[in-house]
């Protein structure tokens, strides 16, 4: 465990640096142009690469001196033997071109048109595939940079020559890719008049690689030309290619099926595309075509109107989980079935749930956790579609299963907990309060506590006043005291909603005849249910008790501002930052502002700097713009000893301050919530097994494929 190093007496780090580093080191002291001149012809690839990446800096900083010589450098580099050099070069050219146009006037623009654009075009047919790919991207950028009228004269002829190039099929393949990439930039007119003829010609090409490229690229082109031309001109090409003798071409068609479907009329969709699909999965001999088609079946169904989806088509979908109907056993159709389920249900409508129910109930028990995971993330959507009765009948059992599942699955239902509860009858929701408690009281899973604290606010809408006061409020107070800062931060954002709820319920209670006078934009149906619930539940609490609880809730929040722990005082300030937007300003001024103002004298600078930030925010609120107390408080902070307090009390700084950068409102930077990357368990089995043995549940939040299914 100890860092053991053998130390020798003669150690001199300078020697090591000289012998290792010398030949690599680039002399940074040279002026930019000299540096480039020196290293652009170096024998070392690293040197040449380094200077090429300096090209756009060079031209931006020293346009006058460099613009002539840079063209020469570029033209030289095109002939470099190393593909990585040519690739780096072609990636630089668009930003270099922008500089020529910006600083070089008409002369610069001509250089772009006559020197730089042809180079990029030429590199799209480079012998190395990486270079070609980068060149195609750069050519797209170039097409956006040059004037639209010049595209026809300077770019189209190049593409045309590629299309007609009978010597090298690779060129024609690139032509197809270019058509695809450039068509959105060229616009509808040019696409229809020039690109479409190219497409049709190449779709009959003798080389299957060209035809495949065309098939793959039909998607974006049909989005550009619109429904009429897609139906008349592109659909026949698509259908023809879907029957191509080469599987690679047919597979390409399977991949773009959805885009075609989105851009033709419903009749054609029904009459032409369903048969194509049925061919793909029925008779087609290729497993790749079969697989690709099935992967896209869900989205394909989603392009239809509900009534147009035949039972036969729906059966194809539900049979994706049926081993006996799957023609090619190794394909992972089950995951795709699960992934697309919400979209399919949404499209066919809740009335056809009986046709899908068995499939769903089978999927939720699938042994592959990735299948269960996508479903746990979407069950709240299913519940919303089906409504409370069916949710109770069919989904609650699944939800409960997910709550006991692995963390990777559980996280889905925790993340959308309140969303699911909203689809339950109010009486049913009460039983889940215990579950909330169990998450909040688990010290080892802070991410779950964070997710709960994010939703407490909106959960207040789902429960009656008594539950809000006696259950949710203590939970929120606990979360405001959590050991993890991020949990406290999210809890702070929920306080406003809770306060509003308990304050406004007072109005409802005393005035039950006049109905809902809630100033929130709450879901009115849940509120009317809430009213009924409120009346019966409040029979258990006296008015006195209710008022006492309300007051003590407000007091608990206020007390944070005078707590002995600086962390709680900071939380209080952050809460105020939210409350000022959510509460009635008069109420805020009376109830919370006085405590906040005292914090300008707080002994801890971290409290004062957050206070400064919030006070500036309050100051920018119209109601408080002329408030003397707020203005004086800010002035006090502007004379603070601490530099950071000074910074945050400077109104100019705050006005320019992007909300996303704010310390207080930093809740959106949640990489772990949204950007889960592919789980590398398969690559690293040994290590992970050891870790699980040693760590006893240290970490159960392995990252997985992103499967948020919002439909």
């Amino acid at each position: 465990m100890s860092d053991f190093i053998g130390l020798s007496d003669a150690d001199n780090y300078d020697n090591i640096e000289e012998s290792n580093g010398n030949e690599y080191v680039i002399d940074d002291s040279l002026p930019l142009i000299e540096k480039i001149k020196k290293y652009v012809k170096s024998d070392l690839v690293l040197h040449r690469l380094y200077v090429i990446r300096e090209f756009s800096d060079l031209i931006r900083i020293q346009f006058e001196q460099a613009n002539e010589i840079l063209i020469a450098f570029i033209e030289e580099a095109v002939t470099d033997n190393e593909p990585v050099i040519r690739q780096a070069l072609v990636e630089q050219i668009p930003s270099v071109s922008e500089c020529y146009i910006q600083y070089g006037g008409e002369d610069g623009y001509q250089k772009v048109l006559k020197n730089l654009l042809p180079i990029v075009a030429q590199l799209t047919t480079d012998r190395n595939p990486q270079v070609r790919m980068s060149a195609v991207e750069s050519l797209q950028d170039m097409a956006r940079i040059i004037k639209h009228q010049d595209i026809e004269v300077h770019l189209i002829p190049f593409i045309k020559s590629l299309v007609n190039d009978s010597t090298d099929e690779e060129h024609r393949v690139q032509a197809a890719t270019l058509c695809h990439n450039l068509s959105p930039i060229l616009g509808e007119e040019l696409t229809k008049s020039i690109i479409l003829p190219f497409i049709i010609k190449l779709s009959n090409d003798l080389s299957f690689r060209v035809r495949k490229s065309i098939a793959l690229n039909l998607g974006s082109i049909c989005q550009t030309v619109g429904v009429k031309d897609t139906t008349e001109l592109l659909l026949p090409v698509f259908v023809q290619l879907s029957k191509d003798e080469m599987w690679a071409v047919r597979k390409g068609c399977a991949e773009v099926l959805i885009f075609i479907s989105q851009n033709i009329s419903p009749i054609e969709r029904y009459s032409k595309l369903i048969p194509v699909f049925e061919e793909f999965v029925g008779d087609d001999s290729s497993r790749w075509v079969n697989n690709t088609a099935f992967q896209n079946l869900g989205p394909f169904i989603a392009t239809f109107e509900g009534s147009q989806i035949t039972p036969k088509l729906l059966n194809l979908y539900t049979n994706m989980i049926n081993p006996s109907t799957i023609r090619f056993p190794d394909s992972d159709l089950v995951t795709h079935c699960a992934f697309n389920f919400p979209a399919v249900l949404y499209t066919v409508g809740s009335s056809r749930w009986p046709e899908l129910k068995e499939t769903y109930l089978t999927l939720v028990k699938d042994t592959n956790w990735k299948v269960r995971r996508t479903l746990s993330h979407s069950i709240h959507e299913i519940a919303k579609i089906l409504g409370p009765a069916e949710t109770k009948a069919s989904l609650v059992q699944c939800f409960n299963l997910f709550l006991q599942d692995l963390d990777e699955v559980r996280v889905g239902v925790v993340r959308h907990f309140s969303g699911f509860l909203a689809s339950l009858e109010p009486a049913q929701r009460e039983s889940y309060i215990l579950i909330i408690h169990s998450f909040v009281n688990d010290p080892s899973k802070w991410r779950f506590r964070k997710l709960i604290s994010k939703q407490i606010g909106e959960m207040c809408d789902l429960f009656n006043l008594k539950t809000n006061l006696t259950q949710l409020t203590p939970i929120l107070i606990t979360l405001l005291n959590d050991s993890v800062a991020k949990v406290r931060s999210y809890a702070a954002s929920s306080v406003g909603h809770l306060i509003l709820k308990i304050l406004n319920s007072e109005v409802n209670y005393s005035d039950s005849n006049s109905g809902n006078t809630d100033v929130n934009n709450n879901n009115s149906s849940s509120n009317s249910i809430n009213n009924n619930g409120t009346n019966t539940a409040e029979a258990e609490l006296t008015l006195e008790e209710i008022n006492h609880l309300k007051n003590s809730t407000i007091e608990s929040i206020q007390c944070l501002g005078t707590d002995i722990s600086f962390s709680n005082r900071q939380v209080f300030t952050k809460i105020c930052g939210y409350l000022v937007d959510q509460l009635d300003p008069v109420y805020f001024e009376q109830t919370f502002l006085p405590t906040l103002l005292k914090l300008v004298h707080d002994p801890v600078p971290n409290v004062r700097l957050v206070t400064a930030e919030i006070l500036c925010k309050i100051h920018s609120n119209q109601y408080f713009a002329n408030n003397q107390d707020v203005a004086s408080a800010i002035q006090v902070l502007q004379n603070d000893q601490d530099n950071d307090v000074l910074y945050f009390s400077n109104l100019n700084n705050i006005n320019n301050y992007n909300v996303n950068n704010s310390n207080v409102f930093n809740n959106d930077n949640d990489d772990d919530d949204n950007n889960n990357s592919e789980n590398n368990n398969s690559d690293n089995n040994n290590n992970n097994e050891n870790i699980e043995d040693k760590s006893n549940g240290v970490n159960s939040f392995n990252n997985t494929e992103t499967t948020t299914t919002e439909e």
Partner: protein, 312 residues
Amino acid sequence: MNTSTFNLDHCIEKLQKCEILPESTVKEITDKMKELLISESNVQEIRSPVTVVGDVHGQFYDVLEIFKIGGQCPDTNYLFLGDYVDRGYHSVETISLLTCLKLRYPSRITLLRGNHESRQITQVYGFYGECMRKYGNPTVWKYFTEMFDYLSVAAIIDEAIYCVHGGLSPSALSIDQIKVLDRFQEVPNEGALSDILWSDPDPDRDGFVESQRGAGYSYGKDVTLRFLQNNKMQHIIRAHQLCMDGYQTLFDNKLSTVWSAPNYCNRCGNMASIVEVNEKLERYFNTYAAAPQSLSNKPTLDTNKELPDYFL
């Protein structure tokens, strides 16, 4: 967009997405850092409340985790005890981010030197190799290792809690002696400056004994208590040694070790912790596990041949 424009907020934003800074920007920040650090004492005096962080060793996503758990800077004050680089896959991003944060919020964050903030050590344990991979040349490594020479070596919280990377030295029993050392050099092989970065406490042996690490000493309960008494300190917080629970207290709660790299080297399965010292100098060990991204994240250009074996 001129990427060498000096804009700290922008740099911090970039780094938080795990994007490295251009070489020219690294030069600027390390130059400015040296200017800033030159006016800091060998033994920095800081005020509570402050959160103390142990070794992080290039585990960038776990560093981001620390800010989620302990609070973002400048909401929370931080004291880092060193060992920012080596062994993990993201030493460059880690040290770059901490440097930028120090420049942006100098009163809110203090960075001390660890034994890995050294030219010799970083050539063996990964930082040099990582710089070569990410920048194509050793210049960035040179900039950072020069900057390391300027880092303070110890800190005192509220004149009561003494904080250092490794521990005690028989050549510097008084903090005043440490204050007058010349710290602006590569970590020497021996002597007080080396000892305080390399030493370890020993619950089983009293006195100072030469360390098995090959540098520094082990120090027992007796010399520790004497040190505290003579220097009028209440407690020592240090790092430098892996703790399976993330922390360990010794000597009747007079010394704490804090370790902040969870699941060290992707295989130890250990917890990590940060020490939250509040206004009353009470110490709370906030423990945590590896960030999810830490588990799945692998270096993209992984040519491990030039990196040493990471077994402990």
